[in-house]
Symmetry: C2
Subunit: 474 residues, 2 copies
Amino acid sequence: MDKFKLIFDGEKPKYIQIYVKIKNMINNKELKSNEKLPTIRKFAKFLEVNNSTIVKAYELLEKENFVFKIVGSGTYINEKKKNIKSDIYESKHDIIPFHIGNPSSEMFPIDDFKKAIDMALKEDGASVFEYEDGLGFYELRLELKKYLKSKDINTSEDRIQIISGAQQGIDIVCKTLVNYGDIIFTEEPTYNGAIDIFSNKGAKIIQIPMLNDGIDIGILKLKLEKIKPKLIYVMSNYQNPTGISYSEYKKKKLIELANEYDFYILEDDFLSDFKFYSQNNMTLRAYDNSSRVIYVKSFSKILMPGLRIGLLDMPYNLKDKLCEAKYYTDISTSSLIQRALYYYIRNFDWKKNLYAIENIYRKRFDKMKNIIENKFDKRLEYYISCGGINFFLKLPKGYSSSDFKQFLLKRGVGILEGEIFFENPIENRFFRLNIASTNVDQIEEGMDIIKKSLDDFLDGYRYNNDFKNEKFLY
Amino acid sequence: MDKFKLIFDGEKPKYIQIYVKIKNMINNKELKSNEKLPTIRKFAKFLEVNNSTIVKAYELLEKENFVFKIVGSGTYINEKKKNIKSDIYESKHDIIPFHIGNPSSEMFPIDDFKKAIDMALKEDGASVFEYEDGLGFYELRLELKKYLKSKDINTSEDRIQIISGAQQGIDIVCKTLVNYGDIIFTEEPTYNGAIDIFSNKGAKIIQIPMLNDGIDIGILKLKLEKIKPKLIYVMSNYQNPTGISYSEYKKKKLIELANEYDFYILEDDFLSDFKFYSQNNMTLRAYDNSSRVIYVKSFSKILMPGLRIGLLDMPYNLKDKLCEAKYYTDISTSSLIQRALYYYIRNFDWKKNLYAIENIYRKRFDKMKNIIENKFDKRLEYYISCGGINFFLKLPKGYSSSDFKQFLLKRGVGILEGEIFFENPIENRFFRLNIASTNVDQIEEGMDIIKKSLDDFLDGYRYNNDFKNEKFLY
């Protein structure tokens, strides 16, 4: 039994740690084919965990074909281990995850937030399981008003709508403002989740190219002369996927144009809390005195993604309709989560946590920027990322990033193909590298692999591609 | 200080209890105009609560105009108490809430669920703050598969999509299946939240009347001969707002028709867990072997509404698209809530809790049904509610339920006007009475008030209405 000894770390779920432990024991031949695993009860007692934790670990091992069960007898090691990497579990642990945009959990203020949840459960009684007011928990809105004030956004608690994450914010705005056939402008490239929502509503999306200091104002004006959009969807700080921040001039200009041509700006702010290397990290909303900006704030990248909470700051004339759309979208955001966030902001040092996260991001960012912009590979083009977590690169002509993705996956590096960020992708050469889930060492290692893989890929690709074309000719 | 003494009950939030206490003291003249309230610190110490609890109570009192603040000095009782009832706080506490459809909190398994949250926080580490798999937490889906099995629904864990409440389920199905201009059938009357979603997507809604044993199959067939709907949205058990359950014949017939005329059935199941007085409480999904039924299950009425969790059971051919739509709707349902629900189902006696809730609902239902169906007032028509929580009644010709609602509000009873349940309301005489937030005594008291108010309303109304018409003529 002693060989099953395991000291848990506080981070990953215990059943995942047990799963990994046994998987490693199989790989290291410490466990042999057809060897019986300890019974659930015995193992649980030995590790001092709940029975259900062992059950879950065994279920996962079975699902991944490492073990098999004989009813009434027990769980045994499989003869043949499946060699295919499992998307869900392996990729999280073994691949350098430049394809993932979620912050890694060492940045989460887990202990403080657990305490905040306890406070909500203790102080607020049954309320945490009831519906909140339509706009969200009143006291949380008061706190968030203060938070926005610290970002030079002057608003009122009755203009703040609590939402279940920024994605829902975009959905609600779309439901409120966009009718079938309406025209929406976005940056090109832009966040694919927004494209999905606008498309689903039957809107026509027109993308305006991004330059290294923000959207191409010249092209935007040309389009506006001919076409009236309902709204423009933008990320003015550390844009996804390019990492570009707008210059102050362009931020102000965009608001001017919104007034001149009468359209709304939907500003998606997922990272403006940080000051990296952009001219400034002010939001469009902070510059707006004319109720042109609908402001969506995500806490996924600056707190924890799994919370599913965010806010919408709404112009007065839209707030009733937006609140109604929130209602028929999901009635209300979890009261428990809203109240826990309230107690967290009120009782713990969120600013300090933000500062810590910023430091982690900045180190990773510096490492990645340094590698990319210092003679990494002259065949790759890229946008100049100002900060944040994203880098957007481009393969030479004739090569496909989805093929490169597959190529790199076999070498242990994940990248995200760039096509999804375009409404009408005319080429498939872009790919995004995200640093949120990685660390400095992984960035070094991963970029090294990419650099070394590039020659093989570009050479081999031509052969394969010609081969494909040949096949196509027949 | 002693007059501020307060023994907390475990149910309402402490700050609300303090708010109510002080409000009552003002009403009872125990506190006089311009009298100073205790300082926050002193009061908090005295009541042994957090400072923030007092702050919240005072903020609420200020918002409701009971007190005013002088910066640097303190909080004082206002001279003039605003007499208008506040929608948010007063209506919850002082009005008999036949207009509210949410279960009252004494039905919540609060202590067990708190323990389940603790387990999730303790066992699953940082995972509770990360995104779950697209379909939702795997182990929860396994548990819910078993739960569905107990309702004669055979499905697989990869057909179950965890959602943030049933409302979101309807939204996701709409996003997946419904295009602008598509035709949707619903019952008439039907749940207004569904009408809102379908309308927002630009669908054309056609309503088919409800009879006392389910939808009018004759009219449905006539419509189907001429029009092809994308889907029909139904509640086959304890329908909202009528309380009607379909006969077994009609349940089976509807599935037959879906196959014959090639459309989907979106079944919204919010209460089938209970066996009241309907012929059977089987779901359409349980009868369906042909992947015609998309099944949405809410836990709001049978567990706790504020959780914002539910499930979608999806036909195989739709599941990828539905999962995608869930993703761009809100990325993922809160991991913490999913895992807490998992631990709750796994470790506590959900069945027992369901049984307890059923008993509470049944007593209220019996009381209400008894009153309505025993010579309550022969001028009112009504649907024969089979069970559940809703009753749908109709005023005599020439009277408006929204006027009646205002009339009753002044007498301390809330009702919900019925117009919202119709896509094209041709009359405004219906109103809904819901028993979920009430108790047996309140039902007796409230119905007594309604009965006594009817004469006054019907007599007075003619006068007012004539008056209105006169004005209109000029």
